[in-house]
């Protein structure tokens, strides 16, 4: 039985806190949604989901011990990861490095933003710094209908570190964060290898854990699932 899923987003362009509702319905029947109390929302999406849909919730996958250990090595001793790894979607128009190559993707193409919070201890003459480090991943199906993904870019931002330590914090991050692309790519490749023998008709992203039943809330900036239709 197909499922109609409706998502309501707090922000424009399908971002932020997200309410969702799944309605299973028979083929050829209406899917009813009587839910006037969706709060303050600024955009909405609807997707009709097939029975064969296969969903991969990215957050648990990315928080596997080997990936966490690899990410912690990226930071070395200069910063500490202080959160789990999160994975949300971000339309290209909101990616920080879009300005350097705007035509690389279309404005509403979705990238997966893989990110975590970090903390930097500083000497006594500076305040400690807290921020987040992000990598932007493009998932895709290739011409043979196989699943692939590549790391497209990175960013970081933080607060604190003043008045004298932001320069040295940037130096550490500017050497460590871009170098982490290779580490993350190899981790992605090892996970994608699990799907190497399978081919798919369609790839899309779903907010949250991609559940097909009930309703609830999530934040699409923080959690997204990969949905695949096996061939």
């Amino acid at each position: 039985m197909p499922v109609l899923t409706n998502y309501w987003f707090e922000d424009t362009d399908f971002r932020g806190n997200t309410q969702f509702l799944n309605i299973a319905h028979c083929a050829g029947c209406w899917a009813w949604i009587n839910w006037p109390n969706v709060g303050s929302t600024r955009s909405t999406l609807v997707w009709e989901r097939e029975d064969r849909e296969f969903v991969v919730d990215m957050v648990p996958v990315l928080n596997a011990p080997d990936i966490l250990a690899a990410v912690d090595k990226i930071l070395g001793g200069s910063a500490q990861r202080i959160s789990a790894i999160k994975a949300g979607w971000i339309p290209w128009r909101y990616v920080p490095y879009r300005g350097s190559d705007p035509s690389r993707h279309a404005d509403l193409d979705l990238l997966v933003r893989i990110f975590f919070n970090f903390h930097v201890h500083t000497p006594w003459y500076c305040s400690d710094a807290d921020g987040d480090i992000s990598y932007y991943v493009v998932p895709y199906l290739d011409g043979s209908a196989h699943l692939g993904a590549y790391v497209d870019g990175w960013s970081y931002n933080y607060s604190g570190g003043g008045p004298f330590c932001t320069g040295s914090i940037n130096d550490h991050l500017n050497s460590g964060v871009p170098a982490g692309i290779g580490t993350l790519q190899s981790m992605l490749d090892s996970r994608l290898a699990l799907f190497a023998s399978r081919s798919f008709d369609l790839l899309y992203l779903l907010p949250g854990d991609g559940t097909q039943s009930g309703g609830g809330t999530t934040n699409v900036n923080d959690q997204v699932s990969l949905a695949l239709l096996p061939r």
């Binding site: 509403l108 193409d109 870019g153 990175w154 960013s155 607060s159 692309i181 899309y204």
Partner: protein, 118 residues
């Protein structure tokens, strides 16, 4: 490189001046910055000395991307990508089949999303 050398020279001079004043200071050096710092007390009064030398303005954020050629090479192999653009996000998925009729044609030309098979 030249700046780094000058920054270090200046930092060492400041450290030496402090030393001559009886203040033992440490120096933290990087390619673009030096911080000369000391803490102590004189007759029960705590004092702190900090001197900062830098040749740049920094913002607490930065970003970058893989080389355009690498991205282009990857993207040429990508046939289907997640998008929120109002169009069919696939070339693999079977397209809905409609019986051609004037009303359907009309609908197609009036902006419904997706390609309809002939």
């Amino acid at each position: 490189m030249e700046n780094a050398k000058r920054i270090e020279e200046l930092a060492r001079k400041i450290q030496q001046c402090l030393s001559e004043a009886g203040i033992k200071a440490d120096v933290d050096l990087s390619a673009h910055e030096a911080v000369i710092h000391a803490k102590g007390d004189t007759e029960g009064q705590i004092f702190r000395v900090i001197a900062h030398i830098t040749d740049r303005e920094v913002t607490p954020a930065d970003h970058g991307s893989v080389a355009r050629e690498i991205a282009r090479a990857r993207l040429t192999t990508a046939v289907i990508r997640p998008t929120l653009a109002a169009q069919t996000a696939t070339s693999f998925a079977a397209e809905p089949k409609y019986v051609a009729s004037p009303s359907r044609e009309q609908q197609s030309h009036s902006g419904t999303e997706g390609k309809k098979s002939e």
